[in-house]
């Protein structure tokens, strides 16, 4: 039977209290669709890092997940400051996180790198002072 399923969650900038909440919910829904193992693991890392980036750097955003028989497509769209130098932001260890963010154990500069690592397809589009769009594809 062919299966297609979409869900969408808002994420609020600065709301560190709820960091990870949306990713936990997404993982629960994907499990319910029978997704397991390495695919579930990679999706959880990608959504978590994206969620934390919205909270850390953007004003607000949404995480859209579309599941088909073949793949999981995750679009993370935020309104925010955008990323000036995407290549630099992708580098392991590069982070502009402030001390408060670092004290909580975020800001290791591994997020985007790990997201890319977990993806079968990965694209970033960003516009300064408007926002950032991350497109992540994970094959099933």
């Amino acid at each position: 039977m062919s299966q297609k399923c979409e869900f969408s969650f808002p994420v609020e900038g600065e709301n560190f209290d709820d960091a990870g909440k949306v990713s936990v919910e997404i993982k629960r829904l994907l499990k319910g669709l029978g997704i397991t193992g390495d695919i579930l693991r990679r999706t959880a890392i990608a959504t978590y890092e994206s969620e934390v980036n919205i909270i850390s750097y953007a004003w607000q955003g949404t995480i859209d997940v579309r599941v088909t028989d073949d793949n999981i497509l995750i679009n993370i769209q935020d309104s925010g400051p955008g990323i000036i130098d995407i290549e630099q932001a992708m580098q392991q260890g590069y982070s502009t996180a402030n001390d408060r963010i670092r004290e909580m154990g975020f800001g290791a500069g591994m997020g985007l790198f790990n997201i890319k690592n977990c993806s079968d397809g990965f694209e970033i589009l960003s516009e300064i002072n408007k926002g950032t769009l991350l497109k992540i594809l994970i094959n099933r």
Partner: protein, 111 residues
């Protein structure tokens, strides 16, 4: 090895999730950077950390850890305790350093 036995051997104090200590501990991961723990820890691991704030709970839920051990005498924040209780993540504490806790747990898991 389960958490009950681990807690007994290391004299860990249980802060919540006491009803979940029969969970099997398949391995361990020590780290304080959340991205590192997200990327490299595994399901069934016990997570050794000195981060005591509430954000550790979502990481543990996502990674399906067996539990979290706070080292160096760190106590969980009130929000951390509430969230961990709600999510069924066992939280244990010890005066040991991360190095000592990890070393002793490693030896117990790999006799």
């Amino acid at each position: 090895m389960n958490l009950t036995l681990l807690a007994e051997k290391l004299n860990l104090k249980i802060r919540c999730g006491g009803d979940r200590l029969d969970r099997e501990v398949s391995g361990g991961y020590a780290g304080d950077l959340l991205s590192d723990v997200m990327a490299n820890s595994k399901e069934g691991d016990v997570w050794i950390t000195c981060q005591s704030h509430q954000n550790i709970v979502a990481v543990s839920v996502l990674k399906e850890h067996a539990g979290i051990i706070l080292v160096l005498g760190k106590e969980p924040d009130k929000n951390t305790l509430e969230k961990a209780s709600r999510e069924g993540i066992p939280l244990l504490v010890t005066e040991l350093s991360g190095f000592e806790a990890a070393g002793r747990i490693y030896n117990l898991l790999h006799p």
